[in-house]
């Protein structure tokens, strides 16, 4: 019989109580149980960063955390970044600087940078590159992503 537990977690401000199989990682729970398919699974071994979500505000690889470990935590996923249809400054900057092509890795970059820019509002280009070095993008060559992050940081500082 599968080992299960009941957990309660908050995702993008909404509370969920679910019985989950303990071997399901957080990415699986978000996608399969909560139908939040914006979090993408790219490698399942913690190398590509596509599945990055925020757990209590910190960027974490959701393929390397069990769903049960999210019990009592506040999770933010890509679905929770925009205000309705209104893109936030980081999302808008990604669009403006063509920081995404296929869009598969994008949720991981956005969540990683969301946490990073909160702690580091005025980063250099080199620091941005280091911040996203745990995220792989095969399409963009990173240049648009870095430009978008710098632009978004400037806009958020100006607010």
């Amino acid at each position: 019989m599968a080992d299960t537990r009941e957990i309660t977690l908050t995702v993008n401000g909404k509370s969920y109580t679910e019985t989950v199989e303990t071997r399901f990682n957080l990415a699986d729970i978000l996608r399969e149980k909560l139908n939040l398919t914006g979090t993408h699974v790219g490698c399942e071994h913690g190398a590509c960063g596509a599945c990055t979500v925020l757990v209590d505000g910190e960027a974490v690889r959701s393929c390397l955390m069990l769903g049960v470990q999210a019990n009592g935590k506040e999770i933010t996923t890509i679905e929770g970044l925009a205000d309705g249809d209104q893109l936030n400054p980081l999302q808008a900057a990604f669009r403006k600087h063509h920081g995404l092509q296929c869009g598969f890795c994008t949720p991981g970059f956005l969540t990683t940078l969301t946490a990073y820019l909160q702690d580091n509002p005025d980063p250099s280009e080199e620091e941005i590159r280091e911040a996203v070095s745990g995220n792989i993008c095969r399409c963009t060559g990173y240049q648009g992503i870095v430009a978008a992050a710098l632009d978004a940081a400037a806009q958020m500082r100006a607010r």
């Binding site: 303990t22 190398a47 393929c63 390397l64 069990l66």
Partner: protein, 288 residues
């Protein structure tokens, strides 16, 4: 790539944890999960039981007392990076931590996890080796202390019984003003280093009075270069001295694998020892 079935446990205290580990036959401890989870996802590791120690709050601490820095096994890498005690007492650990994985993995990864996983290239075991740290391990029978040089039995094999738990690490704090450096070479930022070198020096009027050197990644475990350390003492902190130390370091035992040869690892040890010593000497108070 989904993990095999297991039974999940989440003890909330060290006592509960130790009791649980004594009962379970085939259990793995889940700390930060940054090494264990990939291995479970790939089914390299498929334990019957997974014991999550994230709820054991008494394993998470950083404290400085009596000339030592003690760190709880469950302390996360990001907390070490942010810690003023670590910055002040063991700045080389902070420098090493910048090479550990990435932002996201440091947010979860723990010092205890790194010491138990014991990847030969890993930075935190190298720091433990550099300081000649002492590890505290708990079992049902009580606690025991293991010096770092005895901790590593072999490739990714720590000296810990299946029913035991790593509690903490303690390292002696060097004099204020000591020089330090952690220098490594990896193919890409955040990768497993091919070779890394940690160096600590104390100087007086441009002369090395005390030195510690550890090479990670070259051999199956971090290698403390005690002979080189001894020969450095009394030498002027200059390029010639560092070159000689590098040449000595080049003789260390090293392994070959699919990617690089032993000879290349030794060559890197030479280069990186020179660079680490130069940086450490630059940073030390008491240089000329």
């Amino acid at each position: 790539m989904k993990p095999a079935p297991f039974k999940y446990h989440a003890p909330q205290s060290l006592t509960e944890l130790v009791d649980l580990m004594a009962e379970l036959e085939d259990a793995k401890i889940l700390a930060g999960g940054q090494s264990l989870m990939p291995m479970m996802n790939m089914r390299f590791v498929a334990p019957d039981d997974v014991v999550d120690i994230n709820g054991v709050s008494e394993l998470s601490f950083i404290e400085r007392a009596n000339g030592s820095l003690r760190i709880g096994a469950m302390t996360r890498q990001k907390d070490l990076l942010a810690s003023p005690e670590v910055k002040d007492a063991a700045p080389v650990m902070r420098e090493a931590l910048c090479h550990v994985g990435h932002l996201q993995t440091r947010n979860r990864g723990t010092i205890g996890g790194s010491l138990c996983h014991l990847d030969p290239s890993a930075e935190l075991p190298a720091i433990a080796s550099l300081y000649g740290a002492t590890l505290t391990v708990a079992g049902r029978e009580g606690q025991r202390e293991v010096p770092m040089e005895e901790w590593v039995l072999a490739y990714m094999m720590p000296s810990i019984a299946p029913e035991e738990v790593l509690v903490s690490l303690s390292l002696p704090v060097w004099l204020a003003g000591h020089g330090y450096a952690y220098t490594e070479f990896a193919r890409r930022h955040g990768d497993f280093a091919i070779t890394g070198v940690g160096a600590l020096v104390e100087l007086s009027e441009g002369v090395i009075t005390k030195a510690a050197l550890t090479v990670a990644g070259a051999d199956v475990k971090p290698t403390r270069l005690t002979d080189v350390e001894q020969s450095l003492a009394g030498q002027p902190a200059n390029e010639e001295t560092f070159k000689a130390a590098g040449a000595e370091a080049r003789k260390i035992d090293a392994m070959s694998d699919t990617y690089v040869s032993a000879a290349y690892r030794q060559r890197l040890a030479d280069t990186l020892v020179q660079r680490a010593l130069a940086t450490a000497a630059d940073r030390a108070v008491g240089g000329e």
